[in-house]
Structure formats: C-alpha cells, structure tokens
C-alpha cells in the first residue's frame, strides 16, 4: 500500500462531463502527487499555445502524497495551470482543509478544462461529481460564497463540505487573482483565480469521506508525535517582539551562517510570519518605497509593525490541517481606524510589507482592512502591493496625473488613497481596471516600465535579491518566476540538506559578499534548495516544515514510511529535480523563453542604493549565477532549456509517454 488514492477526476466544463481516471503507479514513483502530478498531467495535456483564459487551459487542484497519512505539516493544496501573467507554468498553494478533502473524495487531483456556459460550481462527495448552477453565488465575495454554500448544503451532505472558490477579482478575470478557502485564505500567485473565473467556475465543493491510505501509519504517527512533543515545549517569553527591530538592524550587518531550524518553530508559534516585518525593514530583506528606498526612508517604522501589537488583538490561533505549529490567527479589528470589518486573518508578512514599507504606509490599521478586502476579493496581496507601489512612484514622478488616477493623490504613505485604489482594483473600476492585471500590463499602458517590478510578468515576493543573491537566482530561474518560497539563503542555512543529500553543500559561515559570486557551491545550493522545495510540494508539505530543517521535519523518513519505500535522500532529491525539469519543459513547450525572465534593474542594484545595509550592492554576477544554476540542473546554460540527456537521465522521456 502507498498513500496515493491512485485516481484523478477529470472534468470538462464545456461538455458538462466528468470521469475518473486511474494513474499508473510509475507516475507516482516518479513525481509523487501535488505539484509533481500536476506537472506531469499539465505538460502532457495542455496544448502548446493554449490561451490561458481559454477552454484548453486546465486548472488543477491537487493534494500532496503525505496528506492524510498522519504526517505533520502536509496539508497544503496546490493549484496549477498555464499562467495568464507569464504565459508559462503557473501555480500557487494554500493551507486549510481543502487538501484532505480532495483525497477524501477518492482522488489525488482534480483537472478541469473547458468553459461552462453559465457560472457553475463542482460538487463532489466521492460518489458523484456534479456541475451545479452557481447563479446564487456569482458576485459574492469569497468568504460570503463559502458561507452561503455551507448554509445551502447544511444537512444535505454527510460531511461538512470544504470549499475553494474565487471572489470578485477572479470573476472579473483580474490576472493577479487567486483561489480562496477557509474564509479568505488564498492560493494567490500566478493568476490562478483568473483562470478559474474564465471557466465560469465559482467554486469546487468537496464532501467525501473516504479513508486516506498509508503504508505504515504507526511509524508516520511516531515521527509526528516526536515533532509535536518538541513543539509543545517551544515557547518564547511574551514581549520579545519589541526587540525584533533591533535584531533586524544587527542582522543587516551579519555574515551568512548556518541556523538552527527550531528558530522557525519558535518565531512562528509566537507570532506567525508577521514577525518578519520588523526584522525585514531595517535588515535590507524587506523592500522599501517600491524597492528604491532604504531603511533611512522609514526610520523607526519597524516599531509600527511590532508583532506584539498584532498579538494583542489575536483572538485565537488556528492551524492548517495536520499542522502542530499554528502560524495563523484570527484578529479582532472592530473599531480600528479605516476598518469596516469585525475580524480578519492575521496578515502575513508579505501583506504587511507590500502595503507597509513598500508604500511608505505607516498605518497598521489600514493593513487589517486591506488584508480583509483582498482576502474576500481573492486578490494577490504581493502583486497588488507591487502594482500600487508602481502607481505611486509614477504619480510622484509625474508619469501619472490626477486625471488618470481618478483624482487620487497617489503620494507615498497616503493611506486613504491606497485604500481607494485597491477598492477600484477589486471592482475593476476606472483607473483600478488597468491595475487589476498587475504591474507589467499597467506599465505597458501608462509608461513607467522602469518602475514596474516584475519578473516575466509576475510581481516578486517581498524579499530583496540584493540582500540575498541566492533568492535572486530563484526569482528568475524558477519556471513560475518571482516566487519567494522556492529558496533563500536563510532557509538553506536552516535546512541542513547536506545531511540527507550527498551533493548538497553544507551551509557555512561566510561574508554576505561571497554570495554575490558565481561559484559551483552556489549553483549546487540553489539546485538543492529548488529540488527540495519541489519534493516538498509533491508531498504536500509546508514551507515552514522545510524551514525547521531535516532533523525536525523528517520528510525522507515520512515518505519511506507512508509509501513503503526504502529510498535515500538522493533518490528523493532526484524526484524534486524531475518535477522542476518537467515544469521548465512546460514553459519551453508553451513558447516561453526562460532567458526572458530577468530581475528588474533596480533589484540588480543598478543603480546601487545610496545608504543602509544594501548600500553599494550590485548583483554583477547574477546572470552568471543563473547560468550555473541551469547547468547544475542539466539545462542549457545559455537558454535554460533542459538538455535531452537530462530528460533521459530523469526518465521524463518515458514518463511523458504515459497517458491519463
């Protein structure tokens, strides 16, 4: 027995039909499930040149291999499709309860093609899969739609259904929209919401009760118990958050170093990802003033985003399925300035940074409101923040005027104008309409391309490549560019990958300037980090499990126990390599030139910043690092196209002949 359900559900919205399809065991052996299964299926089944918003694009929802086995931190659900933002591979993932719900319907993944004539939702309870009218839900925000579906299906299903749905942003085909579950938690990136909206698919509603298999549940549970017992003891004294800003100031001048993965556990249990905001503002990690500013421009802003303030209004923590860490929380925001909602999810670091220092916005309260607005609309906070930052800079520099901005005075830190602009983007109203498709398209329409921060059309996550050149390589070498969750120096330092992989270099204490150099070690580090992230995604694992390191979150041991295999780390890293290469092949098949993914000049340090911890930094060897990364993967080092010998070595030539 393995942990796989062995089947997928294939739905054609144009014909209104669906069918179950068995997946050969060799596919699971090669790419696991989750993003791996999606890569295999989408590469084989989306025709070259397919319109991302047309019927040939396929929207995939998948659970990872370890989901439902008892393994901790394996509750991520993955969405994939051809991205309307980049024209190539697109994916996003999210926590919540939706991943086990896919498997409990009897599937590892659901693949949806075609376009419905009228808005529909897909209902599946493991016995039947039906397309039902979504007329009553179309137009509702994601949280309202989920509530309405729960209310309408109450008592009808044996099990309370899990809902993944789009909000108005996806319905209106905003190319920076995502797909939500659990009251606005969002799989945000790559424009996956627009693809769902283009299919007139409001929601996927799952209410199955099938058991999820596992080869050796006792061993899996013992591994989890060991981790859970450690975590229960990991508690920081309250109030330490006020010192994080000082830590960030120090960190900006520290060398790179190996870290203990338990730091992740301590920080995320105490505060969640929001703790990184105060750290990132002074350290050089967090972008300021549309990536053109320095900590001097926002002196003492780290105190505004002090995580203790957010902890004070946290009503309770919540956990994703199978997570003992609990980095999420619900906040009571009633009565806060600018706020029209009673509660919101604890804003993630990415949202705080994208609507705080990136826009020189000093109002934490306004970010609670923006967070809830974006979550309900189903709009990507990273992309939206980058796009608003571009608009402000263009307005400040006279590229945009009041007439174009519908009278909005888009000055740095003008909180009211930021709120109004995001409202307009969600509603696709006036000036907001042009911005709802992200910064690349907005700058193509209005100019100011030099201030449009994107990589191949995708706005980058809130970490600066000048602070972490390794991240810069991932930003451009990743088949879905601009992602901050593929790898970074800090993460590599905490993971101890060298202890499971014979070729992964150990993290060593070294001057940060060394990371600016092109070296074989750096290429192996970026390759190892990307391979391990793909492996994690195939398993359905959480990035923060990764960041706890291989000695706390034991992915290799989990997989061997759950699947009844006896492979070493090198074998599993090759699975990650295979998934990554398949995704790169998807881009090549779709006519995307990997070499066209480039860091914006500003992020290359051209010109260099005049002050702060990144003063004078230029990523002069960045392109050479990307070439070395491609070479390490066995891809052409000039074009980024996977070489035939690599495709054969990884068995992808045979894998892509397997049909489903």
């Amino acid at each position: 027995m393995t942990s796989f359900m062995g089947k997928i559900l294939r739905v054609d919205l144009s014909s209104g039909t669906s069918e179950e399809v068995a997946v050969p065991a060799e596919v699971y052996e090669a790419v696991l499930s989750g993003k791996g299964l999606e890569a295999w299926y989408l590469y084989n089944n989306i025709p070259a040149g397919a319109d991302p918003l047309g019927p040939d694009n396929i929207l995939a929802f998948a659970a990872g291999a370890l989901c439902g086995t008892g393994a901790f931190l394996t509750g991520r659900w993955s969405v994939a499709c051809k991205s309307p933002l980049t024209g190539g591979w697109g994916d996003a993932n999210c926590g919540g309860l939706f991943a086990p719900a896919i498997k409990q319907c009897g599937y590892d993944a659901i693949f949806i093609s075609g376009i419905a004539k009228e808005p529909v939702y897909l209902f599946c309870d493991g016995k039947k899969a039906e397309l039902r009218s979504a007329a009553a839900y179309w137009g509702l925000d994601a949280t309202e739609a989920e509530k309405a579906l729960h209310a309408d299906l109450d008592g009808v299903c044996r099990k309370k259904p899990c809902v993944a749905c789009i909000g108005p942003a996806g319905e209106k085909l905003s190319q920076i929209s995502g797909i939500c579950n659990e009251g606005g938690r969002i799989a945000a990136r790559s424009g996956v919401g627009a693809v769902m909206g283009s299919k007139k698919l409001k929601a996927v509603v799952l209410a199955g009760t099938k058991p999820m298999p596992c080869n050796d549940p006792d061993t899996v549970k013992a591994l989890s118990r060991d981790l859970g017992r450690k975590l229960l003891k990991m508690t920081l004294p309250s109030g330490l958050g006020v010192f994080i800003g000082a830590g960030g100031r120090m960190m900006g001048h520290l060398p790179s170093m190996p870290l203990d993965g338990s730091l992740t556990a301590y920080m995320f249990r105490e505060w969640g990802t929001q703790a990184n905001t105060s750290l990132a503002i002074p350290s050089g990690d967090g972008p300021i003033k549309n990536w053109g500013g320095t900590p001097k421009d926002v002196r003492l802003m780290d105190a505004v985003y002090n995580p203790e303030k957010i902890n004070k209004i946290e009503m309770a923590k919540y956990h994703c399925y199978s997570c003992p860490l609990g980095c999420g929380g619900r906040l009571n925001i009633r009565g806060k300035k600018y706020v029209s909602f009673d509660a919101t999810h604890k804003p993630e670091y990415e949202t705080l940074e994208a609507f705080g220092p990136l826009l020189m916005n000093w109002s934490l309260d306004s970010i609670y409101q923006l967070n809830e607005m974006l979550n309900r609309a189903g709009m990507d906070a990273i992309s939206a923040g980058n796009t608003v930052a571009w608009a402000i800079e263009c307005y400040e520099k006279g590229i945009l005027n009041l007439r174009q901005t519908d009278g909005l005075s888009l000055r740095w830190g003008n909180t009211e104008a930021i709120l109004s602009l995001v409202e307009k983007m969600i509603a696709r109203e006036g000036f907001g309409d042009a911005l709802a498709d992200g910064v690349k398209r907005a700058s193509e329409k209005f100019g100011g391309k030099e201030y449009a921060m994107h990589i191949g059309g995708q706005e980058p996550g809130m970490h600066d490549a000048r602070n972490d050149p390794q991240l810069g390589v991932h930003f451009v070498a990743e088949p879905a560019p601009g992602k901050h969750t593929v790898g970074m120096s800090l993460e590599y330092g905490a993971m101890s990958l060298c202890d499971i992989c014979s070729w992964a270099p150990p993290a060593r204490l070294h001057a940060k300037s060394k990371d600016l150099e092109d070296s074989e070690d750096m290429a192996l580090i970026t390759k190892a980090n990307a391979c391990y992230t793909m492996l994690t995604d195939g398993a359905g694992g959480c990035y923060y499990g990764q960041m706890m390191g291989v000695h706390m979150w034991k992915l290799v041991e989990y997989l061997n126990a759950a699947e009844g295999w006896n492979y070493d780390g090198d074998h599993y890293m090759e699975i990650g390599e295979r998934i990554q290469t398949l995704r790169q092949m998807f881009n090549v098949k779709q006519g995307v030139d990997p070499a066209s993914f480039k860091l914006p000049k500003r992020m290359l340090g051209e010109p260099p910043l005049p002050a702060g911890p990144l003063k004078g930094v230029t990523l002069a060897q960045h392109r050479a690092q990307v070439s070395s990364h491609w070479r390490a993967f066995g891809w052409d080092d000039k074009t980024g196209v996977p070489l035939e010998e690599t495709i054969r070595r990884l068995g992808i030539d045979k894998l892509t002949e397997v049909e489903a």
């Binding site: 309860l97 309370k160 989890s224 118990r225 946290e314 309770a316 923590k317 919540y318 994703c320 399925y321």
Partner: protein
C-alpha cells in the same frame, strides 16, 4: 444504551485538526477555546450528536491525545 465517544487530552493536543477532518460524521469541530501553554488556541470537541463511535479520530491522532470512552446515552 452505551456508546463510545472521544475524550480529549488537551495537554497533549497540538490542534493539528487531523481528528476533525478524519471524522466521517462531521461530529468534531475545532471550536473549543483554550490554551496550549501560554497560547490562546482552538481545540477539537464534539460539536454535534452525530458521533458514531467509530474511533477513527483516536486512531488518526498522532499525539495519542484521544481515547474512546463508553458513556450512557438516551
């Protein structure tokens, strides 16, 4: 009539929600407010009378925080 139902040890529970999602009768919910050490957290509890006593929640819990106990019903 005797019926087995889950009893939770909240000192061992890590709020992972595996039991809630495993329950085939949707009888459990993460609704009990409490503390895990110093952290305000939500814990699983019976939220409907639909428990069928199958014990899948206890079997699935990695933390061994659930035991099934018989109690009188009706």
């Amino acid at each position: 009539m005797m019926k087995k139902t889950p009893v939770f040890d909240y000192l061992l529970c890590v709020s992972c929600g595996i039991c809630v999602q495993t329950c085939p009768a949707s009888a459990l919910g993460m609704q009990k407010e409490g503390k895990s050490g110093k952290y305000r957290n939500l814990f699983p509890e019976l939220v409907t009378d639909g428990c069928i006593g199958c014990g899948q929640c206890a079997g699935a819990c990695p933390m061994e925080a659930i035991r099934m106990e018989e109690r009188h019903e009706g």
